[in-house]
Symmetry: C2
């Protein structure tokens, strides 16, 4: 396969990112690819926030992966900054290619560059394969993740 680039997302990437968010057993129920305006507004909020990193993985000019990294300062752990990984997606054509690993490794390296002392994420309890994937990358499933829909 040709080279892969991981770079900050730009407004023109929004349709491809949304398509990847929707092409997923859980995402299919939550996203609406025919109405992009709310996603474009959200993109602007992300772009305005210096603690956000929304990236895309590009191969042959096409977005084939995405991930959102949030830097979170805090008092806990002697004033540690932590990072949070959300919205990891790999294009169906690229699954099994190691791209997921590349994306998470990018997030971990960026977290080190930003002096984070901890990287965290939650994964839906039904995503058993994802759990093994994160454990192989050194993450520990030490917590329960609670959600409340408003």
């Amino acid at each position: 396969m040709s080279d892969l680039i991981i770079r900050p997302a730009v407004p023109d990437d929004v349709p491809a990112i949304v398509a990847m968010l929707a092409d997923d057993p859980l995402g299919a129920q939550r996203e609406s690819t025919d109405e992009l305006a709310p996603y474009r507004r959200a993109f602007e909020r992300l772009a305005d926030d210096p603690n956000q990193r929304l990236v895309v993985a590009i191969r042959d000019g096409r977005a084939v992966g995405t991930l959102q990294l949030t830097l979170i300062p805090g008092l806990s752990r002697r004033g540690a900054t932590r990072s949070l990984i959300e919205a990891v997606r790999v294009h169906a054509d690229e699954r099994g290619s190691g791209l997921g690993t590349r994306l998470i490794e990018w997030a971990v390296e960026e977290s080190r560059r930003q002096d984070c002392q901890l990287v965290q994420l939650t994964s839906d309890a039904t995503r058993i394969e994802a759990h093994r994937f994160y454990e192989r990358l050194g993450f520990e499933a030490s917590h329960l993740g609670f959600k409340l829909l408003l």
Copy 2:
């Protein structure tokens, strides 16, 4: 008991917040209450970030609880903003008083005011009482929480 106020933390609250972070089975191993400089630097980073809400609960002029709420814009879920609760602590003198509930209710209300569509948090797998507490407040333990220390 006298009235309780939940308000944004100010620099003078840092020692009391750190004392609460440290007075905890897990926090005791992670915090150092005799060296406040890193906490004060972290407080400045929080104060500079408009998506952060670090609050203290005050009773009789004394900080008896704390919580950090982070607003996280994102593309997922049709451009939903979510919030993340971290670093919830209730002073030992106040445990069982309902103050934890008051703090979480404040965070949920603030999340609604900020048009969040989801509130999330992780809780260490060993904090069984905390899990029941969050479930009573309507949170669902739908996820596993993964951490990687850097």
